[in-house]
Amino acid sequence: MQNEFYPLFYAFNFYLFGLIALVSAIVFVTRKSPVAAALWLVLVMFALAALYVMLDAQFVGVMQVLVYAGAIMVVFLFVVMLLNLGQPSELHDIRGRLGRIAAGLIGLALVAELLALSRTALDVRLELPAAASADVVRGTAGIIGPVAAPLFTQYLLAFELTSVLLLVAIIGAVVLAKKRSA
């Protein structure tokens, strides 16, 4: 199964999908039209789903495609359609020079901070050999078992509370978006 080219192939695909995610995220932020931006964001989410699969989180990858790319982005596009906002030229979208400079500075500070953090906080102990860590996740319980076990034992209360959260969100969305009769 594992031949000598596997690590090279893995690394190539990992960098490929990482690059796709990064480039389409940058394109997404710079688009004027909301529809184009939403479609580029869908591409980011597909690339991230591929990365999840490569990081041994196949179930999360499937959920990413189903929930994010399939459901949430469709809701965004539906709202764009409902409000008829497809024309990009209608509003001057990007903030003025002061806002852009402030955002650039904050962005640079954030990226420097996060990069420094990911360089320093990761000591050598974290860099396990890839095969060993993959075996931990794969195990014998298959793909969904290791995710389901803590979800339905240790985090059962949180899991039940998310159902209440979803109910509240449904009711809130209906109440907010409903046309006032008066």
Partner: protein, 97 residues
């Protein structure tokens, strides 16, 4: 691949923050928030390779909250659009003194 994943996660999060700060279209600002949630999910998944599958459980929770947030937030945007006929954040200034 852990360091690369965390770096990509940081970069995506920063792109999301810059988008929230620079765009005026409320829907695009909202999508930037989704991008930030995705970036956090990526670091959860990358670290779950080392610390067991609990990270993936948290990713599922984050997705649930993101779905709820998208539903309520877009309903708020629709409601604001009915009121002001615009989704430009510059036009939504009722609280400005």
């Amino acid at each position: 691949m852990l360091a690369e994943s965390l770096t990509l996660s940081a970069a995506l999060f920063t792109i999301g923050v810059v988008g929230v700060l620079t765009r005026r279209n409320a829907i695009i600002v909202f999508m930037c928030v989704e991008l930030m949630l995705n970036a956090v999910n990526l670091s959860f998944v990358a670290l779950s390779r080392l610390y067991g599958a609990t990270g993936q459980v948290f990713v599922i929770f984050v997705m649930t909250v993101a779905a709820a947030e998208a539903a309520v937030g877009l309903a708020i945007i629709i409601s604001i659009f009915r009121h002001t006929k615009s989704v430009n954040l510059q036009d939504i200034n009722l609280l400005r003194g």
